[in-house]
């Protein structure tokens, strides 16, 4: 990549400084929690399981994070194509 590419903002690959920052944010999310990655994964699965009785969920997009202030935050995108796949009695 040339100097001009960088000057013109054509440099698409993130610089290592911001890669470091993002990696740290991720790793600290786990460090700051008492929960292990495996436990978070289990919570995620159970949450998906429970919620899918009511709504259709985009499973792969569900993210659960633990904030430093001790809040567990779940992002649960609904599957827009199939809002109501679950048949109810």
């Amino acid at each position: 990549m040339s100097f001009f590419d960088r000057l013109l903002g054509r440099d698409k690959a993130p610089r290592s400084g911001s890669v470091a920052r993002e990696r740290l944010k991720l790793v600290l999310e786990y460090d700051r929690s008492q929960l292990t990655a495996a436990e978070l994964e289990a919570i995620r699965d159970e949450l998906i399981e429970t919620l899918s009785h009511h709504v259709s969920i985009d499973r792969d997009e569900v993210v659960i994070t633990l904030q430093r202030d001790g809040r567990l935050v779940a992002e649960i995108p609904l599957d827009r194509r199939r809002r109501r796949t679950v048949d109810r009695p």
Binding site: A20, L24, L28
Partner: protein, 272 residues
């Protein structure tokens, strides 16, 4: 006198605790304060060597703990800077030979001799760390802007807070302004954004530190180095001055900047 006890610690080893302790000690003493620097790295002592006082050690911290020598007798007075004193560690004991209560007791005795007592903590988060933390009124946390060091620093912040002490203030060490400028090193803002604590100083990577350590003459003893200026600024802040942080993320580039740096006037490439 009722000196304030400040513990200098880190998560990862080798990030510059001892260098920071020695140089802040020199800087505070050169402001006319009385300072005792304490080597709490029992068994791996090196504060005496970094300060160039290794040949004058007779008594050490363990002697004071065991009552073999009084604190006053064990203190080594640095002849280069009036008011600067060292309490060395014992090279032949280990961390478990002292407990937090004993450490507190010794440091409390030192309050009578100085305005500031700086405790150089060993690496790690085990007994040696707990010993160094116990007497602290305030904690300075040293890190470099690297992923592993910042991660470990985060752990220490949690431990300090869990101990009931106030949150540590950050010394960001070994910043390379050129790398930050081209995006290949985390900036001060990045690190603060992640750790969420207050900063007390930014120390640039400085080859003078290596030479100074070789000679046992802390870089702050001489005028003119960028790191030395950074340590003077930290000392001023510890001493209650409200110094603004200068922009040091950019290396001196213009001729004027380079000239002012040469003459230690601190241009835009100056450091905090």
């Amino acid at each position: 006198m009722a000196g304030k006890i400040i513990t200098v610690t880190s998560g990862k080893g080798g990030v510059g605790k001892t260098t920071t302790t020695a140089n802040i000690g020199v800087a505070l003493a050169s402001r006319g304060r009385k300072v005792v620097v304490v080597d709490a790295d029992i068994g791996l002592r090196n504060l005496d060597v970094v300060m160039g006082l290794e040949n004058r050690v007779v008594y050490n911290l363990i002697h004071v703990v065991r009552g073999v020598a009084s604190a006053e007798r064990a203190l080594i007075r640095d002849k280069r800077v009036p008011g600067l004193m060292l309490l060395a560690a014992d090279q032949h004991s280990d961390k478990d030979d002292v407990d937090p209560e004993e450490m507190k007791d010794v440091c409390d005795q030192l309050r009578a001799f100085a305005d500031f007592i700086l405790v150089d903590s060993p690496a790690g988060i085990e007994q040696g760390f707990r010993n160094a933390l116990a007497p602290a009124d305030e904690v300075l946390l040293v890190t470099t802007p690297e992923v592993s060091a910042v991660r470990d620093a985060d752990r220490v912040i949690g431990l300090v807070e869990a101990s009931g002490k106030p949150a540590p203030r950050l010394v960001l060490n070994r910043i390379k302004p050129e790398l930050v400028a081209r995006g290949d090193m985390m900036s001060t803002e990045d690190v603060l954004d992640i750790l969420r604590i207050h900063i007390i100083g930014i120390v640039p990577e400085d080859g003078d530190i290596v030479a100074a350590t070789n000679r046992g003459e802390p870089v702050t003893l001489k005028r003119g180095s960028r790191a030395g200026q950074a340590y003077h600024n930290i000392a001023a802040r510890l001493d209650g001055e409200d110094l603004p942080f200068m922009n040091l993320e950019l290396p001196p580039t213009s001729l004027l900047d380079r000239l002012s740096h040469l003459f230690n006037l601190g241009g835009s490439g100056g450091t905090t």
